[in-house]
């Protein structure tokens, strides 16, 4: 027998392996579709610098008694919009996107939204409807399908309209099979946690029963947008160098090092090239393959590079994190911390942590953990996540925390490359550098929680103490008056006053 060989397209590959992108079953599929579309919408408004206005609607379609429930998923945003010529590829081609840059965003792979649409197409055989405008004089409408084998969009219909209001934003609508009612708790939790890390967004959700959920913004302040940066020498691989040498217009290595990498000054470039044994005058385009390999290895070894810059990151900042938590959890106490930028394998990252006590936080019998990465709530595979492991490793009694307390911990990891374990973006791998930052961040807020709890305990004790005195002293006075055969009870106001320590 002769083996047959064939090539499959990326779309085909992800279609066959949809598990790894989070489309395992009808419940996960509808959850993942919602989050991919909502994240794209939020990315588009963040990028455009306008406070997001996201509208999400899930409605049920009568599918004539066929097996499986079909839902229509519609997401509207007021973001940047997509230039007309890119619309078909953005939604009809896997691994096409605008977020491959070194800049923090929710999306990274050029996969999520398109996977959702692909899933809809294979379960319902219906096209996706997209309308978008970048705020020009036109809005564009597309009906698309994906040619899975070729990984190419098929344009079924295209219309242009006059855009009088200069509306900018995007509308995406498609059908998919799913199990909304099973996914409902996770979807609501997802939206709620999204509201926590996006306190400047208005999110509206209409569910299949016509119920309306509103998550209102409490501020229009947005975190400063991230700047696009060059890669740090510690974080590049052979492939990256080869691509750079193809596009560069630098004539020698000294210029090449300074221009395409961050934090490489002339002095450092000199030092590094000497150390690597590569000619400073050498034309980068003439690097031999083994020289490229040596360059990459030496880059990782060289000690004198400055740490990666974090301007490509966009942490939420203490105020916004606080605002988000206050708005959704209404706690009695909150402490937030933003760690200094750090890096793992050349990828800069920042950890933000928060701890909240009381309010709407349930007494779950354990600490409630909210994990976020680049402002995405992570809801699945909690046990495998580094944050959860770090929390488990802490001896909470030293912070006066007991399991029956209503406590929530939030950890937000920002990075140009979040170390996800899967493309489904559900949990973060255990990198020692990341782990250390998370641990220190949690410790810092936990210390402040301890101060709060100590004080609370104190006030509580004091209150109990006072109530004991004001309960019993008058009784002692009453009975003693009777025993002594007096008419007037003695004046105990002075005594009661003297036990009031805090007033």
């Amino acid at each position: 027998m002769v083996e047959t060989f064939e090539q499959i397209s990326p779309a085909d590959f992800f279609y066959r392996n949809r598990d790894i992108a989070g489309f395992t079953n009808p419940t996960r599929a509808i959850f993942s579709s919602v989050r991919e579309l909502v994240e794209n919408a939020l990315d588009a408004s963040d990028l455009h610098g306008v406070p997001p206005e996201v509208y999400l609607r899930i409605s049920q379609e009568d599918n004539g008694g066929e097996e499986g429930e079909v839902y229509i998923l519609r997401v509207e945003d007021n973001g940047s919009g997509i230039p007309a010529r890119h619309i078909p590829s953005a939604f009809g081609q896997v691994l096409f996107g605008s977020k491959y840059k070194l800049r923090q965003a929710r999306g990274t792979f050029g996969l999520g939204g398109t996977m959702a649409i692909l899933y809809g197409q294979i379960t319902t055989h219906k096209p996706v409807y997209v309308a978008s405008s970048t705020g020009t004089s036109r809005t564009y409408e597309y009906k698309l399908m994906i040619d899975i084998q070729r990984n190419r969009p098929i344009i079924l219909d295209r219309k242009a309209h006059v855009n009088k209001t200069r509306w900018h934003g995007t509308v995406v609508e498609f059908r998919l099979e799913g199990d909304y009612f099973r996914a409902m708790p996770k979807i609501l939790e997802y939206l709620k946690q999204t509201a926590v890390v996006t306190p400047y967004a208005n999110i509206t959700f209409v569910d299949p029963k016509g119920r309306l959920y509103r998550f209102n913004r409490v501020t229009t302040d947005m975190p400063p947008p991230p700047e696009e940066t060059f890669p740090h020498p510690y974080g590049v691989d052979v492939e990256t160098i080869q691509r750079l040498t193809k596009i560069t217009d630098c004539r020698n290595m000294l210029d090449f090092m300074q221009k395409h990498f961050q934090r490489v000054s002339e002095r450092i470039a000199h030092g590094f090239l000497e150390n690597a044994g590569i000619g400073k005058k050498k034309n980068p385009k003439k690097l031999k393959p083994q020289e490229v390999v040596r360059l990459v290895r030496k880059m990782k070894e060289f000690k004198d590079f400055l740490p990666p810059r974090a301007r490509c990151l966009s942490p939420l900042g203490k105020d916004l994190l606080k605002a988000g938590i206050l708005k959704e959890l209404k706690p009695d106490f909150i402490a937030v911390c933003r760690r200094k930028p750090s890096a793992y394998s050349g990828h800069p990252f920042i950890v933000e942590t928060a701890i909240a006590y009381g309010g709407d936080i349930p007494k779950a019998g354990d600490i409630v953990v909210h994990r976020f990465a680049n402002r995405i709530p992570l809801l699945y595979d909690e046990a495998s996540d580094v944050t959860v492991r770090v929390i488990k490793s802490i001896n909470w009694r030293t912070y006066k925390v007991s399991p029956d307390m209503p406590i929530a911990i939030l950890v937000h990891l920002c990075s140009t490359k979040v170390p996800y374990k899967t493309v489904g973006k559900e949990f973060i791998a255990d990198r020692p550098e990341v782990r250390r930052e998370i641990l220190n961040g949690i410790r810092e807020v936990a210390r402040r929680l301890r101060r709060f709890l100590t004080r609370k305990e104190h006030v509580e004790r004091e209150r109990r103490r006072l109530s004991v005195f004001s309960k019993y002293l008058p009784k002692i006075a009453e009975f003693s008056t009777e025993l002594a055969g007096k008419k007037q009870p003695p004046d105990i106001e002075k005594l009661l006053k003297s036990v009031r320590r805090f007033e």
Binding site: F469, Y472, A484, P490
Partner: protein
Amino acid sequence: MNKKPKNLAAEKRKEALKRLKKLGVRLYGQMEKSTFPWIKMPSRSTQNIFYSPEVRQYVLGDKMVRRSSRNIRHIRPLTQLIWAAYFARDLAQQRKTSTLRDVYYSAQAYEVPFKDQPESNSIITDLETVMGLSREDFKVFPEERSAIFGDLTIEYTVPGYEGKRLNLMSHPDGMMIGPALTSAEFVKTSADMVIAIEKGGLFTRFIEETVHKKYNALLVLTAGQAPRATRHFIHRLNRELDLPVHIFTDGDPWGMHIAMVIISGSANAAHLRELTTPDATWNGVWATDIVDYDLPSDALTEVDIKRLHDLRKDQRYEGDLWRREIKKFLEIKKKAEQEAFSRYGLTYIVDEYLPAKLEMTD
């Protein structure tokens, strides 16, 4: 013998009222001077309980404890204590009696509730300690009651019955040793001795067999461990009427201890006097009786044996008789009930055993 009643009960009542008022005046004064009200009383911790060979009972040492309302842990029990004093004063003024159970429930009406009955009982014991009086003096009685039968005329002091006399042979079941009897005065008696009996069955048998006549005796039923009111009553019979007291119990460590508590008291009552009768004697059933009279017996259980070993270390058991009997029990590893004499016929115990035993200790 003929005695004129001294109306001891009325004196006791007056004394109790006086002391209760004094307590109130002290506390009131403290509060007027804006100090947190406090009291001081002898400590009842085990380290402060000693056996006194002179008094022949347990007594409290010199250690005092202070309960101050300034202290968050003291204020609640102190309030309860003062309430109990107030409650006792009410009882005394209205010349009423009540039970430990009543105390427990009454507190709830004043919003000084007790956690449970033991807590309430312990506050009453505190009050006894503070007052230097027993709870019966301020008319708080336990539930369990025992009885007396014999030729003793008493005069009541309880309201409604003042001056009324009664002979304690009037009722063939005996008379209950309750608050009215405990506070009564002794008028006259023809008795020469007191015989205390552990069990109701034998008490009735003694009455039927007219032991009171044959031996000129007052019969007291302890009904198991004698209540404090009964112990006090026996004490009075011994003191006021000069009657020797003989105690008959089952032949086992528990019966032996019933006798001992009547004689030397218990550590729990170390703060009280007049509950003991040091000259009373335990006349049986002894371990040696089991052998001598060849009584039907049961084997000692492990708990019995452990109890005997404990008693052996107890100071109250230092006398020769006690040592000998404990040793004998441990040797024969047997015990016998008072009813065991029935094997020789129903009257044997009265006609043969009793005279022999009474002679032995005379």
